[in-house]
Subunit: 202 residues, 2 copies
């Protein structure tokens, strides 16, 4: 009887979500209690089932509740082209472009020796094996354009280049002025890079 | 096997929360899967228990999983003073001021005849009974400063004034310039009201 009221506990629990402070948590709780109890119960059920059964795809390390994710099971995806990303959200972003038909490999992070995250932790042994087994002809490295992303990218390139008897095309996402970006507001390192990598148009 | 992946279902389910679009829903799902599965399971459990057992307090209509809410069970709160609010969130806001020691009554909305919300739906019979039973000496009407809030307030005032043999002080939250508000940016109806309700200081 003297426990903290359930509603307060619920409002606190909502604050484990990213970007949700006390105020939004309160709004969420009231919103669901007011008129969305069925949706809330559905969310509760999906949360429970997801946390219990979603693991990593045994091939690409993306999240899935099956052994292989839908993308790895899709025969129409070209398995000789592999795009390496840091997070599952990056796959969603690339898929949204509708211009990529190959497969993926998710590092689930990037190299960060100080935090104890080495090649093993980001699955580079599995990656190497996948590249060899699938006889990949192209690897696209799509890690972030951050220092950590670049370091990880360099590490992967040397690892792949050390695989004997493998002819493979390795590329990196192009960097430069974003579409719609105004030069005036662009940081100078991006601008310098765009200038250095300028492309002929005639 | 051909169901929509669990993760996609979870991302959709998150979008039943107010202010949560596809992008935030995705971020929430990944955040919980990455490193917060215990928190997520706790949230799922609290959601389920809350939706199943939180109902309205039989006295003030605020949310509670018990017959009477913590506030109505608190003997130190003066039951002869009653503050009438539209939503449970309004109680939280007033409690946060730390300056009110009476009880509350929650309308859970306001009069809205076109939507079929009449006096019965906002609990005015219960309110009338409560005022009489508790021998209230003061009622503070804290409905919103909107047209609907004002209409509801007027309706409540006439209802209370029709109770025979009841001497009761009825007040309404003061309206005017917000603390820190600059006149330059204040809407003219608030400014006109502040002027009309000007208070003597000497
Ligand atoms: Zn996969
Ligand atoms: Zn109550």
């Amino acid at each position: 009887m003297h426990d903290k009221p359930l509603l307060m506990q619920l409002i606190e629990a909502f604050q484990c979500l990213p970007g949700v402070g006390k105020k939004s948590a309160q709004r969420m709780a009231y919103h669901l209690l007011n008129a969305n109890r069925q949706n809330a119960l559905k969310l509760a059920d999906l949360l429970e089932r997801s946390m219990q059964s979603i693991q990593h795809c045994q091939q690409c390390r993306d999240y899935t509740e099956q052994t292989l994710c839908a993308l790895c099971r899709n025969e129409r995806r070209d398995q000789s082209v592999l795009c390496i990303v840091e997070t599952p959200a990056d796959i969603v972003a690339i898929e949204a472009t509708g211009t990529y038909a190959g497969r993926y490999f998710v590092l689930m992070g990037h190299l960060s020796p100080l935090d104890g995250i080495g090649p093993e932790e980001i699955g580079l042994n599995d990656l190497r094996e996948l590249v060899v087994n699938n006889q990949c002809r192209e690897v696209i490295i799509a890690t972030s354009a951050t220092i950590e992303g670049e370091t990880t990218s360099h590490f992967i390139v040397s690892m792949l280049q050390q695989i004997p008897d493998l002819t493979i095309k390795i590329s990196r996402l192009a960097q430069g002025v974003p579409v719609g970006g105004e030069l005036e507001y662009l940081d100078s390192s991006t601008l310098a890079l765009s200038l250095a990598n300028r492309q002929n148009i005639n």
